[in-house]
């Protein structure tokens, strides 16, 4: 009797085990069939990225109010005047809107060296936007040097925060891939996107600087900061990339600061001896026009900067800034 029991027990155990073994074999077989790959991996694995497109931030053109040039040494006064000449900040920022300001914060340098947008100028533009009723103003850039150092040393973090803006430092998840229609270089390329994805308006602020490779770094070159990835390889075709940036970014307004112009040793500078006071500030809805004028502060002609003509051909603006009849003023 006992023996019989033991036998039954043993048989039951065996059947359970055999069942488990059978299930294991079936599972292994099924998994192998499902995962079987006769083709092998592809060659160059170009990851299929979700592509994004920067929104168009421009405002409707008002004839005769596209560009203003104001003389003066106090940036707060000149920028206020320059925007006023274009119809006032209300033309560009509506109450309740969100604004992104993209100053040139490329380097970790103090404001006196002129390598970055001047903090007083950034603060003045923030204040104007706030005054116009902007709900939120972001100040952001994707610098070359360590971003925290750049925003701190340039004085922009402190000045912008004090004026009521929120400073955003770039993080890895801010970058998304984009492809520029009609672009040759910006193809499936990561750009600093997230801070601009949900804002209503975009204002660029940049100093006028010497740049050995491009000739000059001004409003258009400022958008280089939006490029992510190994952006240094674009220097192999600098004029095309700057022109493509002007096609990719359609800002509400650009502010080009020629109060102090970096004449040599750009775009980093490093000595006040590199700067020359020109006491000129440009506000423009047309950045090609702004830069075409701005380069004269560096004793250059628009024809000296091939990217200007390329941008004009692509429909990004006019190199003949005089045809736009810029409004002149002093402050």
């Amino acid at each position: 009797m006992n023996e019989q029991n033991e036998k039954n027990f043993g048989r039951r155990k065996f059947l359970t085990r055999a069942g488990k073994a059978g299930i294991s074999i079936a599972a292994a077989g099924t998994a192998s069939c499902l995962l079987y790959d006769a083709k092998g991996p592809p060659g160059q694995t170009v990851k299929a990225e979700q592509l994004v497109t920067l929104p168009d931030f421009s405002v409707p053109t008002v004839t005769g109010q596209t560009m203003s040039i104001v003389q003066g040494s106090d940036r707060k006064h000149t920028v206020t005047k320059a925007i006023e000449l274009l119809g006032g900040i209300e033309r560009f920022v509506k109450p309740g809107e969100t604004v992104a300001i993209k100053p040139n914060v490329a380097f970790a340098r103090p404001p006196m060296l002129g390598a970055t947008a001047h903090p007083e100028l950034v603060a003045a533009v923030v204040e104007l936007c706030r005054k116009a009723g902007a709900k939120l103003v972001y100040v952001t850039d994707n610098p070359i040097d360590a971003s925290a150092s750049c925003f701190t040393l340039s004085g922009i973090r402190k000045a912008a925060s004090a004026a009521g803006a929120r400073v955003i430092l770039p993080k890895a998840h801010h970058f998304k891939h984009t492809t520029l229609a009609d672009g040759k270089l910006i193809k499936n390329w990561p750009i600093f996107f997230a801070p601009f994805a949900r804002v209503d308006k975009l204002i660029g602020i940049s100093p006028v600087k010497h740049h050995a490779r491009a000739g000059a770094s001004m409003s258009m070159k400022n958008w280089y900061g939006l490029l992510g990835g190994r952006r240094n390889i674009f220097h192999q075709d600098i004029n095309t990339i700057i022109a493509e940036l002007s096609m990719m970014v359609k800002p509400t307004l650009v502010i080009l600061d020629g109060t102090e112009v970096m004449m040599t040793n750009g775009p980093t500078g490093g000595s006040v001896a590199d700067l020359k006071r020109a006491n000129t500030l440009i506000a423009s809805c047309d950045m090609v026009a702004a830069d075409s004028y701005g380069c004269t502060l560096l004793d250059l002609k628009a024809a000296d900067l091939p990217y200007l003509a390329k941008a004009q051909n692509a429909g990004a603006g006019n190199t003949d800034y005089q045809a736009l009849k810029p409004i002149l003023g002093t402050a």
């Binding site: 043993g10 155990k13 065996f14 085990r17 055999a18 488990k20 073994a21 294991s24 074999i25 292994a28 077989g29 998994a31 192998s32 995962l35 079987y36 790959d37 006769a38 092998g40 991996p41 060659g43 160059q44 694995t45 170009v46 270089l185 190994r230 390889i233 674009f234 192999q236 075709d237």
Partner: protein, 579 residues
């Protein structure tokens, strides 16, 4: 026939077969060369290769399907692979037998008892598998470091190359392997450890054995006692290969099915049966829940820790030049099992086991070293990708490699780019003619071109005494014969120059048909110049094959060197904006 005899025959057969496949992994058309021998069969039977690549890539690549057979047989029969098939296991078995056969019975029993440390192999397996399991954190396939089949495959290649050194039967010239000593050191350490404890590697280290131990827990047939009572002589543990305690509660996961216990039991109490041992059995590996969780956490943590040096990002190592067809680095590391078949088959021996300077994960993965071997990566060779068992190197066609036919638009596969070191190059730094690099560039048109320059040699401004026909007598003394090589010229004002055909201590002879338009006056200065062709690399053409580097006569640190910038396998490595 006794079952242990059958087992020995099986071991001898598979060991011989494995060795045979190692030998025939040689490019050629003779019967003992590559042809269609299934040289990767053992690697394909290895379920650790299959499961590892499944974890990293979520695919089971082609012939790795063979592993399913091993898995099924293991589920039914237990760890038969370890005791009957594995060439490394058989080697351990044999060495352990030789080393311990004269020991006393009690000593043998002591050697073959179960040890807690046998759980280490499960920890190793879990760590490796979890290193591979989470591509979002970074998945890396490191099983090949200790997986016995890749281990013994790469080790046998080196042994074969050493054995072949004096006869040069397998390869015409001796083959060399960078850091090959480390591979052999590990191999021989594993072999010699059998003298300490038989099958040391199998019992304590082998992650494949651990995998079989887990797979075999439901085995239908297993070793066990068919009676609960026996004389308790423990003879069954005398030669137990797995250290699985057949005399008591047998540990099924440790049993390698050597059948020695069955053979040694005088009372025939032990049999291979469908019922569990009547003396009791333990089916699960001896690893606690805490041990499992810790190993799992260790595996998950190991990848980001190993990758702290950012060798997959901006800090990638430029000398990690991968063979043609290699996947982009992240994908490559998900597949390479470090078996070394590519290095074995490479006809030039340029493919080398990588070191750790390219990151820990780079160890023993294939890397080109153009200073070893016969001549860089051969233009018309795609052998490495054809033998790669996991497609870490894709089986590309020649058309794809060269960028012809349907691949014309993509262009050729580039392994990197050659850079000229102007501080070391003879024409650039030493005023010596050379351009061996240009001569050997296999492309048409060549990726290396030259620009002709005439450089006045050191102390080369000399004073003319008089000119008689084609002989210029000098007031200055010059080294005789030195300038008669055909590469030297003498130049007068306005760079009018004539080739020097001979010279003595104080004369220069120029070709009779090449008289100067205006004979240099006595007392005037002429310059002795060397004609140099200075090499340049056409970066849009260079494919990084490394033939130039191999041939460069500056033999220590070469004057032209390939580094991986510009390789086409990854967009991140491109050097030029446009190809």
């Amino acid at each position: 026939m006794k079952i242990v005899t059958v087992r020995r025959i099986s071991q001898a057969f598979f060991f011989t077969l494995f060795t045979w496949f190692c030998i025939v992994t040689t490019i050629g058309e003779k019967f003992w060369q590559l042809r269609a021998w299934p040289i990767n069969w053992f690697l394909q039977l290895d379920p650790l290769v299959a499961i590892g690549t499944i974890l990293t890539t979520h695919t089971l690549y082609r012939a790795l399907l063979w592993a399913l057979l091993t898995v099924i047989l293991t589920i039914i029969f237990g760890r038969f692979f370890c005791g009957w098939v594995c060439p490394f296991g058989s080697l351990h078995h044999f060495v352990g037998f030789l080393g311990n056969r004269r020991k006393k019975l009690s000593k043998k029993m002591q050697l073959n008892k179960y040890r807690k440390a046998q759980r280490i192999k499960y920890i190793i397996l879990i760590v490796f598998l979890f290193m591979a399991a989470f591509p979002s954190i970074g998945a890396t396939l490191q099983t090949g470091l200790l997986d016995p089949i890749p281990l013994v495959t790469r080790s046998f290649q080196l042994l074969l190359s050493i054995a072949d050194r004096s006869v040069n039967f397998v390869t015409a010239t001796p083959r060399f392997y960078e850091a090959g000593w480390l591979i052999l050191l590990i191999f021989f350490t594993a072999i010699l450890l059998n003298l300490v404890i038989p099958r040391f590697y199998c019992r304590f280290i082998c992650p494949l054995g651990a995998l079989f131990g887990i797979l075999g827990r439901f085995a239908i047939w297993r070793i066990g006692k068919n009676q609960s009572e026996c004389s308790d002589c423990k003879l069954c543990e005398r030669s137990c290969e797995g250290g699985c305690e057949p005399s008591g509660n047998i540990r099924i996961s440790e049993c390698v099915l050597c059948f020695n216990c069955r053979q040694d039991c005088k009372d025939e109490v032990i049999s291979y049966q469908t019922t569990p041992s009547l003396a009791g059995e333990i089916t699960n590996p001896d690893i606690s829940r805490r041990g499992f969780v810790l190993s799992l956490a260790g595996g998950v943590f190991a990848v980001p820790a190993v990758r702290l040096s950012n060798k997959l990002g901006s800090n990638w190592y430029h000398k990690v030049i991968r063979p043609p067809g290699a996947l982009s680095e992240t994908e490559f590391l998900k597949r390479c099992i470090k078996c070394g078949q590519c290095m074995r088959v490479c006809p030039t021996n340029v493919l080398q086991p990588g070191g750790i300077e390219g990151g820990l994960e780079n160890l023993w993965t294939p890397v080109l070293n153009n200073r070893i071997g016969s001549s860089g990566c051969q233009l018309n060779c795609v052998a490495c990708g054809q033998v790669c068992p996991t497609s870490a190197i894709r089986p590309i066609t020649l058309a794809e490699k060269l960028g012809t036919d349907e691949f014309a638009e993509l262009g050729p596969i580039r392994l990197g780019t050659a850079f000229i070191d102007h501080n070391r190059c003879l024409p650039w730094a030493m005023d010596k003619p050379c351009i061996v690099c240009e001569e050997n560039c296999p492309l048409s048109p060549k990726a290396i071109y030259t620009r002709e320059e005439f450089i006045t040699v050191r102390d080369g401004v000399v004073t003319v005494k008089k000119v008689v026909d084609n002989t210029i007598e000098l007031e200055t003394t010059i080294p005789p014969e030195k300038f008669a090589t055909g590469d030297y010229y003498c130049a007068v004002k306005d760079n009018e120059r004539r080739k020097i055909t001979a010279n003595t201590e104080n004369t220069i002879v120029i070709s009779p048909d090449e008289q100067f338009e205006k004979i240099p006056a006595a007392g005037s200065k002429i310059e002795i110049q060397v004609r140099l062709q200075r090499p340049y690399v056409d970066i849009e053409k260079c494919i990084g094959c490394g033939v130039c580097e191999h041939e460069c006569p500056v033999s220590g640190k070469k004057a032209i060197r390939v580094s991986a910038e510009g390789e086409t396998r990854s967009m991140d490595r491109k050097l030029l904006l446009k190809r």
